[in-house]
Symmetry: C2
Subunit: 685 residues, 2 copies
């Protein structure tokens, strides 16, 4: 009995078994309230859309799109009276850039579907939910009876796409807008200029796009804007100033602070720390011209001016700028050193004046926060939550991106656990209202247009849920289950997050079977954070991203699944650690699955050796392939003991753990994602 | 010694070991003459293109494209003197629709590349060859030293794409044009109208495209024409008349012969046998209007009018048409029965008059051949080689498609073995000149825009080689090896022939591991020829093509590889069939690989059962999954005997073969492609 109690305690203590799971089905983000019924709606042919609200072609098109995706949009000729109604009621045509309401209710009954929303934006969100409802039933679509009331927790739910570091063609942006709409993200933050390129056609300052080669024509920009608007998504353009501007300076050297004149856009990823000369009137004349043009092109009320990562070295190095700073009293208390922040605030105020003239609200990264910044400027916090809370305390509207940087290759769970406003936040209710939301950010140094989808999805959907759903929706295991469903859904929408890595693997496998290479790639992850810059190989914007690291998932599903299996092993044991142990019955099946998985990994290396040897691109991954095999062998030894109901010898265990540590070495800018789970298996007592 | 001789005889008799393989590397189609050197060209940075010939932007663009694909098109800023030359010499700008020469020479030496060709078409073909030369060497490209002289065997090498049955968006056509160019196909035969749709915008008769819903605007057609011309590819439009015209009749009922008036385009695949009324002048007035418009849109000198599959039943059933036939003496000798062929020839002559007015040469399917057909009309033979030779004997130019129908899901080897002019052909040299070439044909009843690439490629490349390379280039095993390389090359060009089926598999696998479903799908093939229409399920144009049959390859690589393994087993045996047998040494390795493969198949079914059971779409494939497992078990039994050096018991063998026959039952419109190979393994004595 004592043992039984102990077992219970062990069960309850294991993650994934502690929380009762709400019935969320495949809905992501989880709606505010959901009441499932027991009946189903079985549309025989098409659903018949009926509208009550001001006529709006975008809403009608969205409904057609949803019905087509559900397979319920059979050609109109036979829309007989027999088909069931999809009743859509909305009060007014909503516009995302006016922050109109997104609230909706969605009711599915056996006799039809009803959507009610104050604005057409709510209808779009309801349709996104509807698209996640179908249950497969052979060739027919079944919709479960349900009553959903839903509204977002935060009004600003964004995804940053960086078209500056690697250019992203319009088709890439569009399919990502489709994915955003599917998970109710509503802001595309379009990073359009940086050291490595200026990506929008400028009719007033054409050298800006000409020096960059690849750019969006203004017609293409308008095409994206239309596409986004049709999905209730704002487009926030970012033109990063005064730093991150080598591309601008290559086009118009008059902007430069420093002596180093760049003749081309930047061909490196190293932080350059260049900045505009903030003392010259020509700088502001040029910005006025350009921002006049760009604020007219982009309808969003916000306009992002970057403002990040200027350490002021170019300003300090220029005597004229130093003289200006001295005259304007922008020196530190020592009377000699530049107060970089004061000078940048001066710059920001000048830019703010321009933007105000064009009726835009300024947004900048958290570096721009500080004394003297007007309360109308919005702050995007990338360096930590401190910036977010400092901004709110200073009275500035603010959004969170720290914790949501997809390019760091951290887990979806990591982003999911980052709440802009946790229960223990230090803000007053008035300050909390200034936290508008957040944005997932996909900086593209290591993502070109081919693989970018796989670096964004499905992880960005975890951020989408964090920003839409209630604070207490935080069951990570259930999130991962739904994330897998969303991932399949996005494939149906044309996202390339699975196709592209698989295709890359096939290219790398060449004439050999792709299966063995896939087995390895599936348990590799790119090294985390910014380590990829420092792994013995220097990347530039023209380095092809076509190696195994680029096909490796940012977060390995296979490794996570294996980890869950280790977690779910339930062992009956005496408190006396040398006593007998038993696998609880359903853990025997898990152990069998683990055995098969470990055997596959163990056997994989010898099959892969010929290809690793013959392909120079793959050779550098041989140590990881060997390590996978060796680690799996250790896992198999531990598993055999478990199955034989034996505790491992302490000496064996210590030696095995030491071997596993020795295997834990990145190669080819990747690391073996399954090592921690195997380590935990070996450690089991 | 006697045994040894017997062994030799067995070795020599096995397919795949009889022919010495020419050094073809990855070149497909194989050039006329190739002399490989031993040196390599190692371009450090970009190649520097140098042109000698009349300036031509298309040729320059093609060179840029090739260099980009080779990774040798580094931004122009640093084209230092150090980079090696790509010297391109051509006499004149060639045009595909003028049948200009495609001959070229391509020389690669360590100091650069030289292309010589009489026309720029030859340059395009040389670039296609150049793109197949690179040898991987880590991040660098290596090109082998080589001297190639090349020219096509046939001038007309086509691919028919059917945009009428399932609409194929412009992007689909474009990527297939890229693939065609890669294997030197030079005619896109664009099947633009059929019972199920009329796919080109007509400004003179707009109801034609309006009733069809999905169609190409004339701007889109021009975009395709430009894209094709830039790749040296002609575009041959087909407007199929007088049969296959329900879409036309739905738009303009005045065209109809029959009483049945169609109000919409045809919603079935059943052969309708409708035809225009050939007796009314309005028919020819309408055709004159439309063909006037379309001949101006398409620059090719040929214009395809179809002419196939009209059995005349509508004509026979119309008293007015019968009276017309009687008056024109178009009755058979009995004086009562319609001579359908005479009436259709009358129709053809009227159409020919229209096309001649618009300076086009008529092409039609082999049904139009017969007495009274002018020699200027070209014949496309789909029903057999007889049509091809009859046409040539009658003095008509002709092309072959029989044997090249990709939609029948036959093997690449099957198409490859079909020579329009084998050595034993019955034609005189003058008649042989009338055999212009051939066309692979991809009718799209069972291929939508998503999966069509996988039904065309890589098999169409086998047809491409048959039509370009010399008659004696016919080593099937070597063709398959190069076909696999082309398949990878095409993926790099954006073809979706591997992505699309894999994505469909993932959708079908749902939340379960796609691996087990893939193992099954890889050894399934759709039922052959037109059997899919008759497998207990009636398809219509709106049936989604998203089941396992659609993800199954037209020709299973895995099954073929397994078959090759069976073929390559080399057994040392006494002529006394009850005596001892031995696997020759390197066959032991093959046997081991076969064992692993058979074990995977055997174990797959139990892993797949849960998914087969839970997904209504997959349930129908359960018998095939079980059959794969059972067949693999029999194969394993036979293999065990081989490894134990035992001959199988005759009774066991008879029983095993009987069981295999019983397993050979199609399901879900697919068949188990690996059964014949396992059968041959079991039969081995």
């Amino acid at each position: 009995m004592r043992s039984f109690l102990l077992l219970l305690v062990i069960l309850l203590a294991r993650p994934g078994f502690s929380q009762p799971t709400a019935d969320t089905r495949n809905l992501l983000p989880v709606p505010t309230t959901v009441r499932w019924g027991t009946a189903t709606l079985k549309p025989k042919t098409a659903l018949r859309p009926l509208f009550q609200g001001p006529p709006d072609s975008l809403t009608a098109a969205a409904v057609t799109r949803t019905l087509a995706r559900l397979g319920l949009n059979v050609p109109a000729r036979n829309q007989s009276a027999a088909s069931l109604p999809l009743q859509i009621n909305y009060g007014k045509v909503g516009r995302a850039e006016l922050f109109d309401e997104e609230r909706y209710s969605l009711r599915v009954t056996p006799s039809g579907i009803t959507i009610d929303a104050p604005t057409s934006l709510g209808v779009l969100r309801a349709l996104a939910t509807l698209e996640q409802l179908p249950q497969a039933a052979g060739r027919n679509v079944l919709l479960p009876e349900v009553d959903i009331q839903d509204q977002p927790r935060f009004a600003w739910r964004g995804l940053l796409m960086d078209a500056a570091r690697h250019f992203m063609p319009v088709s890439v942006i569009k399919r990502n807008l489709d994915a955003m709409a599917a998970v109710k993200l509503n802001v595309l933050h379009w990073h359009l200029s940086d050291d490595q390129g200026f990506r929008v056609e400028s009719k007033t300052l054409p050298r800006l796009h000409e020096v960059s080669g690849q750019y969006y024509t203004q017609d293409e920009v308008r095409e994206v804007l239309r596409y986004a608007a049709a999905r209730g998504i704002r487009v926030l353009p970012e033109f990063d100033v005064p730093g991150h501007t080598i591309a601008w300076q290559a086009a118009y050297p008059i902007l430069a602070s420093g002596d180093t004149l760049y003749k081309t856009v930047y061909q490196s990823w190293r932080l350059a720390n260049v900045a505009f000369d903030p003392t010259k009137e020509t700088t502001y004349q040029l910005l006025d011209t350009l921002f006049g043009e760009m604020t007219a092109l982009f309808p969003d009320p916000y306009f992002h001016i970057g403002g990040d990562e200027n350490d002021g070295r170019q300003w300090r190095g220029n005597p004229r700028i130093m003289a200006f700073a001295k005259a304007k009293k922008m020196l530190k208390s020592d009377g000699r050193t530049l107060d970089k922040h004061a000078l940048q605030t001066y710059f920001n105020r000048r830019v703010l004046t321009i933007l105000t003239k064009y009726h835009k609200q300024m947004v900048g990264w958290d570096e721009i926060l500080g004394p003297g910044l007007p309360k109308s400027a919005a702050i995007q916090s990338w360096r930590g939550k401190k910036g977010l809370y400092d901004a709110a305390k200073a009275g500035n509207p603010t959004i969170l991106s720290n914790g949501y940087y997809l390019d760091l290759n951290l887990s979806a769970a990591n982003a999911y656990g980052t709440d802009p406003l946790p229960a223990d936040n230090p803000l007053t209710p008035a300050q909390q209202k200034l936290i508008l939301g957040g944005e997932a950010a996909m900086w593209s140094e290591f993502a070109d247009s081919v693989i970018v989808d796989s670096r964004i999805w499905p992880r960005a959907a975890a951020v989408a849920e964090r920003l839409w759903s209630a604070r207490d929706v935080n069951n990570t295991a259930d999130m991962y289950r739904r994330l897998a469903a969303v991932s399949r859904q996005l494939e149906g929408l044309g996202l390339q997050h699975r196709n592209a890595p698989e295709q890359l693997l096939r290219q790398l496998a060449g004439p050999t079977d792709v299966g063995t290479l896939r087995t390895l790639a599936q348990v590799l992850e790119p090294v985390k954070e910014y380590k990829r810059h420092f792994q013995g190989f220097t990347y530039t914007p023209s380095t092809p991203l076509n190696r195994l690291v680029d096909a490796a998932p940012a977060e390995s599903d296979v490794a996570r699944d294996f980890n869950c299996m280790v977690d779910s092993l339930r062992i009956y044991t005496n408190s006396d650690s040398y006593g007998p142990i038993f696998l609880v019955a359903d853990s025997r099946r898990t152990a069998l699955a683990m055995r098969q998985q470990l055997q596959t990994w163990q056997a994989n290396h010898s099959k892969l050796i010929p290809r690793l040897g013959s392909s120079p691109t793959l050779t550098e991954y041989a140590p990881l392939s060997a390590a996978l095999s060796a680690a799996a062998a250790l896992g198999l030894e531990r598993l055999a003991l478990l199955e034989k109901q034996q505790q491992p010898d302490t000496e064996w265990q210590a030696s095995a753990l030491k071997q596993l540590d020795a295997l834990n070495k990145p190669a080819g800018q990747t690391e073996l994602a399954v090592l921690p789970a195997i380590r935990r298996l070996v450690e089991l007592r």
